[in-house]
Amino acid sequence: MTAQLGSPVVLANGKRTAYLKVGLTGFALEDDKSRASVNLAIVIDRSSSMSGEKFERAKEAASLAVDRLRDDDIISVVTYDSTVDVLVPATRASEREAVKYKIRSLQPRGMTALFGGVAKGAQEVRKFLSGNRVNRIILLSDGQANIGPSTPNELGRLGITLGKENISVTTLGLGLGYNEDLMAQLALKSDGNHAFIEDASQLAKVFDSELGDVLAVVAQEITIKVNLMDGARPIKALDRDAEIRGSQAIVSLNQLYARQERYFLLEVELPAGAPGTSREIAKVEVSYGNMLTQKTDRLFANVGVGFAASLAEVDARTNKDVMVSAVEAIANERSRLAVALRDEGKVEDAQNLLRDNASYLQMNSVKLSSPKLNKASIMNNNDAEEVAKSSWDLGTRKKMRKAQHTTETQQRY
């Protein structure tokens, strides 16, 4: 764990703001045997719009996923159209041939009861729910939800509920017809991955990446608590929901993958200090379920800040890594806002915002010498062109949502 300020040295005299980054990096797994067992539900949309290549690829990808599981993993398969069918109730992956046979025999039909499908998938996962397992639902859909609760907010709340139960939902949006807000919300609130699969041929690859993540969970139920002291107070969390009250900020993550870096950025207000002095301003506590030892571990860190008289000294001490993350997060929030503006039909506003965003990223990429920010800047410029097009909500909107989600959750693919 690292806990660092973007500007560990700030100007003395007067209140200053700084970004606090709490980073977590998953330890590496030695081999497949040492990983935690997985409790996976694959929820497949079988509505008639899936028919053809999409559905064949989905079945193929799901079968491949089943093949990658270890015998002691748990697998269930749920399909839904207007009704929900628990195709394979939660069972050990050693039955993989039977499971694959059932997947192969699926035929597409009907409408989309997405909520019911996920709820039933969750019910299957719950049968073997354990903090020692990686509990995961993979939802594969190409459509809208039209039976059951169907707003992004409601699906987000389902995500929160499942997240609290330590079940993450990964949502794989297939083609151009799915509701990306709904799929992204469900994934975000349950701390799962989200992917936009434009072409069914990419499905196997994405499924493989997803399973790579699932099989590499090294920590679960992660809670980061930041207690600010000595006059410092939290302003807001960047690009993420956090519980902030008084001098405390709490954020929960469902899991951390092996060698993955995940972080939490907090904008804090620092009290005034005399030049040349330094003080402790925060205590950070991270608790997590270690998937290797099956125990709850805790990590602690203290964060201090120094006060300097000159701006040059402040700049020289800037933590570029933290600042890159902060800039990225701020730009990501703006990108989200641009999508909201575009949804309201304010095309020009959205375009201007994205262009501003691009120059903001460009400026910082130079200042912080970060190629990553430069890339993001180019993407924002590109998006600015795309939002003006009438066809933008076909592919671009989904791409932007996916990119936003990736940045926000530090998703690996």
Binding site: V84, V118, G148, T161
Partner: protein, 522 residues
Amino acid sequence: MRDKLTIVFGLLVLVPVILLALMGAKVARDEQTMVAARLESLREDRLQGLAVDIRRTIELTEAELGATLALLDSNDAEKMRDLVRINPMITQVFVVRTDGELSFPVKEGATEAERAFLARTEAIWRGKAMLADLRDADASDRGYARGDSISALAARRPRGWVTWYWEEGLHLLHWQARTEGGVIGVEVDRVALIARVIGVLPEIDVEDGRLVMLDLRAEPLFQWGRGEPKDGEKTRARRALDHPLESYSLAEFPGAGGTFEETTQVGLWASLIAALGMVFALAAYFHRERTREAREARQKVNFVTQVSHELKTPLTNIRMYAELLSEDLEGLEDTATPRRHLEVIVSESQRLSRLIHNILTFSRHQSDKLTLRPTDVPLRPLADAVVAQFEPSFAAKGLKAEVSGESTAHVDPDAVGQILGNLLSNVEKYASDGHRVEVEIKDDRMEVRDHGPGVPPEDLRRIFEPFVRLGDKLSDGVTGTGIGLTIAGELARLQGGSLDVERANPGLRFTLRFPKEKGLPS
């Protein structure tokens, strides 16, 4: 004859078929009503069972929440916030003091989520938590009145739900009384609760129809069952869920597949058709039997006709040669005895000839092949000729025939001769006791009157029926085919006239009427 049979058979088939159809329709209607009633109660039972499952899930949730809240220190805000963080059902914990004031959460130091909670529950806490705004139709049934505060409720009941609609939908608070007074409660996430309820509902259970859990706006929350309901189809059964989800309901749609009623209908119609088939088969069987009998009878008649034809040729020869012989005898001496013998041969052959003629006429008439060729005929010579034929046999029985009158009629001479011959033959057979028979030719008719024993009035009509011979007394020792009068009557009718009989006391009078308008010279 055959048309009548066809009609009878038609009726034989149609009547039971119509009866069967009527009865079948009635049975079907009754059955349908009964099945519908039984299905109705089955459906209600099923919905009831599901509603019970859902209630149990809610009760389980209540119990879990109760256990959780019982362990919770309502003065420790951190613990309460931790609970919200980890419990999937709970979005907020709240504490109400005895005086009805909310002591947690409070605006000062509240998190963003807590502030949102305070905003959406403001109506509940305003004016010491008046419940008047709550959507709770049967509040009085639950032992509290509208306008009560939650803490007032807690004085009477240990726990309860408060539900209300705001923005996206149903909001739920579950509270329970604290030992130290006041109330501790939680806001339950509707989405989490629905997901949990869906977890216990079946996936695909019913073969036909579609079961649906509906929200307040009758939008489906979850559905199962294989049938896909058609657009705008009405629910077959519906039932509201129990408190606190009373604004939700369970409903059943008929679905597109074949229903149970249709299946029984199919069965009923199948049995009806089977019964119909049986009736038809039975009718066909009887019809075939009947036509077989008729065919056999026809074959017999054909046989008799054939034989009669065969008999006629030699008989004609016998008659002819007997008559030739009788002519040859003239001029010879002492011919009395051979002449008498010859007369017997001639008279018997004439009788046999009449008999055969009658049989042939009858069978021709039976097969509708009898045709007459009327011409203008002087009746007197015709009558004389016929009577002359009978003279020898009449003489033998002491009968005397008298012919009187004269007229001309447009008739078939053979037919009139045959009629008269049959009448005189009867007189010879049955009325020789009267010793007298009068044949009287009038303007449009010919009357034959005997002086024999006659016929009782009740039998008068029957004597024209074929093969009817009256009483043993009359027919004792008398031979006959029983078709003579039948043929005479038919022949009279066929040429447009009639043959009637009346009692003349003693004896009978037969009146042969000729056609009135046609053929009579003016």
